[in-house]
């Protein structure tokens, strides 16, 4: 059973935002998550995460002057866990419809309150057998740079493969083709994923 990490709170065709059940419990940057209604599973790559106050007007204030350790702050102020929340945003990179895995955008956006799961290694391996999703990542406008995102995503995915290096080499070759002529971006990615 895949690990349920949160719930979709905002969704569009190309991305969705989800709130984590645990404070600071966001999946790693670049990891593959999925959400679905049983008919269509939407796959997405985490590109941003943030922990904020649940009320936009109320900023957290520093509380730890008299505490010895960081955990002590939460222990002395148990309400904090309820007043803060961790959210993450993910870029849709594919979907599975009727058992068939596709590396392009789904017909419908993810549903609000859809559960979000972290993909198991088996599923990551299956998904990353094709590199067609890299185009979607490279074209995305994300707060962190696209190069950071691609590199993080490949690093994450490589962990699911038996031979991470071979995987990274094949992926990087695809990146070279996609980034035809953009030597700066290419070098940036290569430096970030080299094993």
């Amino acid at each position: 059973m895949p690990f349920k990490i949160g719930e979709v709170v905002q969704a569009s065709t190309s991305q969705f935002q989800a709130e984590c059940y645990e404070l600071h419990g966001s999946p790693p940057f670049g990891s593959l998550v999925k959400t679905g209604d049983g008919l269509i599973d939407v796959y997405a790559v985490v590109y941003n995460a943030a922990t904020t106050s649940i009320e936009p007007g109320r900023h957290p204030i520093a509380r730890g002057r008299d505490e010895m350790a960081e955990e002590d702050i939460y222990r002395s102020n148990p309400q904090l866990a309820k007043l803060l929340r961790t959210e993450f945003e993910a870029l849709v990179v594919g979907h599975r419809e009727a058992g068939c895995l596709r590396h392009y955008l789904p017909p419908q956006p993810a549903r609000i309150h859809g559960f979000v799961y972290v993909c198991e290694p088996d599923e990551v391996r299956e998904f990353s057998r094709s590199f067609d999703f890299l185009r979607l990542l490279l074209d995305a406008r994300v707060p962190a740079s696209a190069e950071e995102l691609v590199a993080a995503c490949l690093r994450q995915a490589s962990q699911a493969h038996q031979d991470p290096r071979t995987f990274l080499v094949s992926a990087a070759k695809e990146v070279v083709i996609l980034l035809n002529g953009q030597l700066d971006s290419l070098n940036a990615i290569l430096r970030r994923i080299k094993a």
């Binding site: 080499v169 094949s170 070759k173 070279v176 035809n180 030597l183 080299k194």
Partner: protein
Amino acid sequence: MSLEQPKDNRLGIVVSGSVTRGVEVKLDSSSLVEGMVVGRYVTIQGERQRFFGMITDVSLEVIDPRLAITPPDVSDPFIAEVVAGTSTYGKLHVRPMLTIGSDAMSILEGPQPVKTVPAHFSAVELASQQDVEQVFGQVSEGQFWIGTPLDMIETKVRLDLGELTKRSNGVFGKSGTGKTFLTRLLLMGILQEGAAANLVFDMHSEYGWEGYSEGGRKVKALKQLFPTKVAVFALDEENARRRQVSADFIVKIGYDEIEPEDIVMLSETLNLTEAAAQAPYRLARHFGGQWLESFLNVEGREEVGELAASLGEHEATLAALRRRLETLRRLPFLVAHAPDNSVKRILEYLDRGISVVLEFGRHTDIAAYILVANLLTRRIHAQYRERTERAMGEDRALPRPLVITIEEAHKFLSPEIARQTIFGTIAREMRKYNVTLLVIDQRPSGIDEEVMSQLGTKITCLLDNERDIDSVLTGVVGKSELKAVLAKLDTKQQALIFGHAVPMPVVVRTREYGSAESYKDLGFREAAELKRRAEQDIEELWGES
């Protein structure tokens, strides 16, 4: 793109090309550029047929020219591996030579010459042994093979000796590249398959009884391997005796057998002027059959002067000619009148299907060689011509094909004399009379162009002189590519073969020769084995009742 591994033999895909230029192949990143060798065979799987071709060039390419200016950090193995095959890649130039169809009809017809190119992105593979065998034919027991293709030790390249002996052929290569070895092999092949009778003018006595390898090791030659099919004729009896070669016949040539044409052949070697080279014709008219002896007997200035006056020649010309011809007197095999007719003897042997190797012994100077080879060949040629014409008239079997082997061929076939001499005639037209030449030479550029173009099969070892390479490759399809292959041959044991005897140009590593094993391969049986076999035959015949 996917993670699937490419097939073992796959090299890459066709990206461009034309029938005239050949095709360009982009190497897969999994194929090592340095593993590609010019001269190696590949197959290209087109949509309808398979193409069989040869790698003729290997080059390095980059996708973006900026990469060449700011190269990636390839000291990092990861980056080096990623960049290989994507930003940078190897490119092969392949010359498709033959097509192999897949239906029953085209398999029966065998490989056909290429008339089109494979479609875009057709997969290119290294040719397998099976492919090569399909092209060059499988070698069955008792058939002759010349060597193996590059990097294919198991596959044997067969020469179609029937086709080979139909036309004149050439063996070329720089000195020390293995011409003699190759020629010896070829002659053995012709003997082994009985494709023709050989007449070898063996300048350095290497083909008859035994020769020497480059390392100075003794190797068996024709007579030892095929004692019943080869006769050794010697010009130099003493030399043959010293080398313990039992010659079947000692050749003597009478002055009366030398004709003016033979002197024309020698004009370059004897340094005769044009006028001096033509004078023998007048002398022959004047003196008749004994012209040479009579002319050499004309002594003293006055007599020469009288002769010149009566012939209408310049006195100085005749005197010079006489002086030069005097050198012939020093050749001990030249006698006033030969006791036996050498030509007749040679023909007797050839008629019985026995090849004749004429060893020159110590007479290795080129004048003797040219004189004898020309003289004998002219008469043998006349005989063959007569017989063929008679055979055609009377509807009988044509005489047995004859292959005449000559060394230093440019001395016989240079542009100045090729049109006048018998060898030029044989090279150009004697195919009809079943006589062909096997010319061996290290300066093919010195051979008349017309003769070169008539050679059916050319076997060439390394050549590095531009003019020699050009002259060998005249009129060949894909000349510029073959040029690259030819100039890159190893100095030893490698040869490029192209022409009628092979379906397509092929670079071979010539088969090993000189070991007991190799002799056995060519049909040689030790005396002990022969005896054992004979005993076995006798036993089988009479049984043990």
